[in-house]
């Protein structure tokens, strides 16, 4: 039960360091830097400004300011000349479209205001989901710094017509001479584009299309090809799974594009249908953090464990090696067999052999979870062809390269070979939305539109045909790649007409184009294929085994972060500031290392008195390549393994503030996410992390998290005084222990009239993906403050996702009973910290009915609404910050600076393009005011207004907030508890429902549902 666990946020906390203690007591850790603007005492005394002068200045400036304020600005209103039929100024239009940027793929809805996209939400009808990156993609549209604006040739602007002509001539020359040209693109997953490329290569038979993914899953695609005769990725119906065993597959992260929704759909404690998920991994991944059981095992042992499992399940005897987790593997073999067709095994190793073994295990289990018909097209990159291309280029065999939205000079491990090879190429054309090192190395840089400005179609899985439509007029002088290729193929059709005709003839079967476009997708029949090639898995397994046996030294597991992914959107401030769900660090990547290794090698992460953490640098060398990275000690990291994320350290063309982190791609040799034989060495230097994990601590309060096992959930009475897993809080009153809700400081108000909003957050379903965090940014104009400000605890996130580690160990009291000394207890905790359990808890303003913040505001700037929302009136706020000090949840954010129109904070609010993403219905806050989650009052008000205007009641489940609509797994449910039909009304009464810090009796309107873990007990 929850109370037996110690919850902690950082390793420092375990050590009981005094700094953490101090930090827990201060809401604002940073002293106001008065001496910074006053200077030291001496200069102050030597200053020639007398007190009288000072008063004169004050008087003069006040007078000047008031005089200036008298002059009201003249505001111009410029209406349309011809107003488009579907645009009403002030009313949002939503368009269904798709995102496909080569790494992120999703069916989405785009909210536009006056022709500007301002928000991306999942297209739930199309089963679409959004991640933090998809949510943030709307800001990348307005990246005026990085986006290409005009076609150029060697840096000189050129017209499209001239570019067409010159490139056309050159292409024909190369065709005559039959010299090979390569069209290098990322995964397109677009049937019509594929067709256009086929047409293009027909006209120019010397052109070859090579697909290159920066972060590759080539191994999985190759393995599937070998087994099922089709180069695609298998789909996994995790919602139907009973037992899931994953060897390092981060399927809640980027593995095959992510399976969050399906995974959580299969984990519903209320129905009792809950999959049992065991994760064998070395890095602490999002998936591992959510697993029922996480087995820490270093990469090479993962391979052997996978082989041992293969042996145990199939009865084969492939040469393998004993691993420390064999007992667990044996147990899982039994489990898997028991679940039979409802079991599935996944592996995240980008290795054809490993993937073949996993497929073979699934085949042996007769797994229904693996879907080989409705396959995924989201990772089509082919590492072999890319490697071949680079060597051909180097040997001068390639005469032309046309790249489209790829940046191999940044993402290839042998980028220098690519760059050298490029010098020998005579036709160098880059078609790209954004500028990059690769674009810069090409002769022609031709701008293509962002997906929000484009027409297109998508086919992420076989059953869903998605459409893409422009939601804004092109911002720059761009042309779609499809139009370019059609033109170069000598086809005068516009891509829009081509797409329409293509869809009508091959996809839609007489069904309406307009309807499909409106819905954004079209469901297709899947043609089941029964091809199953006979592959010698034994050979693959043997090869895998022998390659893993070569492992020596440290083992590096390269991974992608939830925020930045492959680094495509590295210039996106929302994503840079998005704290990593696991480490809570933003604006950085780092080498994660186990606590034991860190101790041995002398790495530490000291916490500074302002809550910031520091780190040492390590030199990491793999195959002769070296990078110097800061080190972050990661609980749950396998000993002997290291983790480092890709996607950082991009510099070309980026704003200076975004040029953070270290580029790990040079270590990503052959697209292998596991690198053996890694050497690491401590080097001098001190790195300053922008990490929020120690900040906004919980001041040692309890009853924040409640976790129970599925068995407890089913068998134990939740409110049971001793063993209950959702006990009410007890407080001492008149020296008696009484239930907290029997005493109250405040008067109760009537809340059963009108609407009363509640937000329910199911900790079982929350995977910590952070889509809600970015959705909140977009909806509420939350400013980005930059690395230095985050470091000192001034991040402005209205919604944060707290990550708690916990260890199944006695509390201090129990330790005392057991006679453990203080030192022993912590040592024990530290050992437990080798593999802690992880719980995510989205935390935002709790909208307390009895809010401590409201009572202390001297100017009544924060007040309570009748609908349950704690309202923050910025124009009333004078910035005393009393409210933040009195808030037990640490959710109030103070605007230290004016973040818009301020060159000190050169993020999206500081340029005219970036400002286009602002939500016009929410004010941009100024300096010196408090701000916090408003429970999206602009959205609830809009919903109410809609009902009022239509003279009807608000429909069931019509209320939404940005976070609840962005939530992929349905963990966040928002609604009106006074409408008993609303989902949230039942959730508020659920036996799993509890309030954080309920003993304080703040009566929050945010309800959490106890996290249920499947411990697989009978």
């Amino acid at each position: 039960m929850a109370s037996n666990k110690k919850y902690w946020k950082s390793v420092e906390e375990l050590k009981d360091s005094s700094i953490v203690e101090t930090l827990s007591k201060n809401e604002f850790v940073e002293e106001i830097p008065t001496d910074q603007f006053l200077g030291d005492k001496e200069t102050l005394e030597n200053s020639s400004t007398s007190r009288r002068d000072f008063l004169k200045y004050v008087g003069f400036t006040t007078a000047a300011a008031s005089l200036a304020a008298c002059e009201g600005p003249v505001v111009k209103s410029i209406p349309y000349v011809v107003q488009p039929n579907d645009v009403i100024p002030g009313v949002a239009d939503w368009y269904a479209t798709s995102i496909a940027d080569g790494y992120d793929f999703a069916n989405v809805l785009v909210k536009t205001r006056e022709g500007r996209p301002i928000q991306i939400m999942p297209n739930k009808e199309a089963n679409g989901t959004t991640s933090a990156r998809v949510q943030a993609a709307v800001l990348s549209l307005y990246d005026e710094k990085l986006r290409l604006k005009n076609p150029s040739k060697s840096g000189e602007e050129i017209s499209w017509a001239d570019a067409d002509k010159e490139i056309g001539v050159k292409l024909n020359e190369l065709k005559e001479a039959n010299k090979p040209v390569v069209l290098l693109t990322g995964t397109l997953a677009s049937p019509s584009t594929q067709k256009i490329i086929e047409g293009f290569t027909e006209v120019y038979p010397n052109i070859k299309h090579v697909v290159y993914d920066a972060v590759s899953e080539s191994g999985a695609a190759d393995a599937f090809m070998a087994m099922y005769g089709k180069r695609a990725l298998p789909n996994y119906h995790l919602d139907k799974a009973k037992t899931i065993v994953s060897f390092g597959a981060d399927f809640l992260g980027d593995f095959h594009g992510g399976f969050e929704k399906q995974y959580i759909a299969g984990r519903n404690p209320n129905t009792g249908q809950m999959s049992y998920h065991v994760q064998f991994e070395s890095n602490m991944s999002l998936t591992g953090a959510n697993a029922d059981k996480r087995v820490v095992v270093k990469p090479s042992d993962q391979v052997f464990a996978l082989l041992n499992l293969y042996n145990a399940i199939t009865g084969n005897n492939i040469s393998s090696k004993a691993t420390p987790v064999d007992a667990e593997v044996k147990k899982m073999a039994v489990e898997l067999k028991k679940s039979g067709s409802k079991a599935v095994v996944l592996t995240g190793l980008n290795d054809k052999n490993a993937q073949l073994v996993a497929l073979a295990i699934n085949a042996a289990l007769n797994s229904e979870i693996v879907d080989v018909n409705n396959t995924l097209n989201v990772r089509q990159g082919n590492d072999t062809e890319v490697a071949q291309l680079v060597s051909d280029m180097k040997s001068g065999k390639i005469a032309g390269v046309i790249s489209y939205n790829v940046d191999p000079i940044y993402t290839l491990s042998n980028a220098e070979d690519f760059a050298a090879g490029l010098d020998k190429v005579s036709l160098k054309v880059a078609l790209s939305t954004e500028n990059s090192a690769t674009v810069n190395a090409m002769d022609y840089a031709l701008p293509t539109p962002h997906f929000l400005e484009s027409w297109g179609d998508t086919q992420f899985d076989e059953s869903t045909y998605g459409l893409m439509q422009p939601t804004i007029q092109p911002l720059f002088n761009t042309r779609q790649v499809q139009d370019v290729l059609l033109k170069w193929s000598g086809n005068s059709t516009k891509y829009y007409d081509y797409l329409k005709a293509f869809a009508a003839t091959t996809i839609l079967n007489e069904s309406s184009w307009n309807k499909a476009l409106h819905n954004g997708f079209f469901k297709r029949e899947i043609v089941a294929s029964n091809i199953k090639a006979e592959v010698s898995v034994a050979n693959a397994a043997a090869a895998l085994s022998s390659s893993a046996k070569k492992a020596s030294g440290f083992e590096l597991n390269l991974y992608t972060k939830t925020g930045l992914g492959d680094g495509k959107q590295a210039n996106n401030p929302w994503l840079q500031e998005f704290p990593d769900p696991i480490t809570r660090a933003s604006w950085d990547n780092y080498l994660t290392i186990s606590m034991a290794d860190a101790k041995e090698l002398g790495f530490s992460n000291p916490v500074k008195d302002n809550g910031a953490i520091d780190g040492d640098y390590a030199k990491v060398s793999v195959n002769g390549k070296e990078v110097v990275v800061p080190v972050m000690i990661q609980p749950g990291q396998a000993k002997g393994s290291l983790g480092l994320s890709l996607g950082y350290g991009k510099t070309f063309g980026l704003k200076e503030e975004m040029q953070v982190g270290v580029n790990a791609y040079p270590l990503y040799v052959n697209g292998n996410n596991i690198q053996y034989g890694v050497a690491i060495e401590k080097v001098s230097g001190n790195h300053k992390f922008a990490c929020t994990q120690v900040q906004k601590t919980i001041a040692g309060r309890h009853d924040i998290l409640k976790v129970a096992s599925l068995k407890e959930y089913k068998t134990v009475e939740p409110k049971d005084h001793h063993h209950g897993w959702n006990k009410p809080a007890y407080v001492s009153y008149d020296h008696q222990e009484v239930e907290a809700n029997t005493i109250d400081l405040w008067d109760e108000h009537n809340r059963d009239m009108g609407h009363h909003f509640n937000l329910s957050i199911d900790l079982t379903s929350c995977t910590g993906c952070g889509a809600c965090v970015v959705a909140c940014h977009a909806e509420n104009n939350v400013p980005v403050v930059g690395k230095n400000e985050v470091r000192i605890g001034r991040d402005m996130h209205w919604l944060r996702i707290d990550r708690y580690y916990s260890s199944e160990v006695e509390t201090r009291e129990e330790a005392k009973e057991l006679g453990l000394s203080r030192g022993e207890t912590y040592r024990k905790l530290e050992t437990e910290a080798e593999n802690p359990e992880v719980t995510f808890q989205p935390m935002m303003c709790q909208h307390c009915n009895h809010a401590p913040c409201e009572t202390v505001c001297p100017v009544a700037a924060t007040t309570h609404g009748r609908q349950g929302q704690n309202q923050m009136t910025y124009n009333r706020c004078v910035g005393t910050r009393y409210c933040a000090n009195n808030c037990p949840y640490r959710v109030r954010r103070f605007n230290w600076f004016k973040y818009s129109d301020n060159s000190e904070f050169d993020f999206n609010m500081n340029n005219e393009y970036g400002k286009m993403v602002l939500n016009p219905d929410v004010v941009v806050r100024s300096r010196g005011v408090m701000e916090k989650c408003s429970m999206c009052i602009q959205m609830t008000q809009a919903t109410i207004l809609k009902a009022k205007k239509e003279g009807r009641l608000v429909n069931t489940d019509e209320f939404e907030t940005a976070c609840s609509s962005a939530c992929t797994t349905g963990a966040m449910v928002f609604g009106d508890v006074n409408n008993k039909k609303d989902k949230v009304a039942a959730l508020a009464e659920d036996k799993r429902a509890y309030n954080v810090l309920d003993y304080l009796q703040t009566k929050p309107n945010v309800i959490y549902q106890v996290k249920i873990k499947n411990t697989n007990e009978a």
């Binding site: 009201g72 209406p79 000349v81 002030g90 009239m753 009052i937």
Partner: protein, 452 residues
Amino acid sequence: MTLYHFIIDIFKQSLNMKSVALHNRLTTILLKNFTILLFFGFSISSFSQDVDEAKQREGRKLFKSLCASCHKLDKKLVGPALGGVEERRENAWLLAWIRNNAELRASGDQDAIAIYEEYNGSNMSAFPQLTDKNINDILYYTTVGEIKKEVVADSSTVAVGGSTSGGAPEWLIYILAAAIIVAFLMIASLLKQVNELKGNTKPDVKSNLKRDLQELWVGIKNNTFLKVTFTIFLLLVGAYVVFGTLFKVGVDEGYQPIQPILFSHKIHAGANKVDCQYCHSSAKHSKHSGIPPVNVCMNCHKNISEVAENTVVELEDGTVYGKEYLDNEIAKVYKAAGWDAENLEYTGDTKPIKWVRIHNLPDFVYFNHSQHVVAGNVACQKCHGPVTEMEEMYQYSELTMGWCINCHRETRVDLKGNEYYAKIHEQLAKKYGVEKVTAAQLGGLECGKCHY
């Protein structure tokens, strides 16, 4: 108008507040009356003697309702100019054509086919409902045209009235000021007498007033009671002025900027009774009432290229604009829309109109028109004032928070036919016996309802 208004007005003028000039309405009402008098004084109407006025009136009415959207008397529009059409065509042919031109064309009438083709095959509606008399009335109107009212004084673009004066105080201020001055004069004369009685008279070298003031000053200086009273008085006046000024900062009641086009709401919404929401159509859908796009102007102005003969727009400063000026303003709309009025076609060369925004709310307040117009059933005039009488639009209301709140407190919510309100009313009635529901009772005073 109170004292501080007066002082603020002076402030504003001295600071040239808002770089666009403010027309002061209050001062010009008198001038307006004067202008009207002038007009009546000079205008002498004379009517032609040989026109059957009744017949003309009848024909004119029918023409305006049925024909005017496509025809004018003196100008080509969608169809030909009809002035003197009786001279060009036989009456029988005209009767047949007007009643059913398609039939006439079908019968093979060459003239009919020719005219149809001349106008690119634009179909004219059939009017089978018209009697011969009706048609003849219309034709009579096309022949005689408008009955001219001859105005002696040329009304176009003549600025009548004097120059605009600055802020004029109300009677109260005059009285107050007079009372104060009288009081001081009395004190002054008293002091003078006292001085004289004391034998302190000085040689009378200066003018009387100056001497009096000086004596007054000396008197005040010497008398402690007066000194204290005077100081308190000055402080009070000072505080009044300062606070009044500060509270009025950013309150632009009466703000009436000069617009790029002299658009008269009086003519459109008043005389022609165009519904507010015909042009401001988003008021019912959106938070913005919407300034109409030029294409909305063109819905009507495609056919109305000039104002009627005697149309005038007279501003409160007394400036009067006549036909020539106003026709030019319509031409500005054409320019914006890219409409070639000669060839009756759009050139595509558009130029958006840059109106000056009158009602400016601060960014931190959320206001929604549709909430008030549709859900609240509030008439536009409630906040925007007598728009139908405004030649030039101005800000009628204060648009301060106090003003909003007051209305929310007082306004009863229109519960009729709205299920949403009905439910809340039912709940309130059951629990608290509430009969009338005000916006405030529905949470209309909560900060967060407008500030987010």
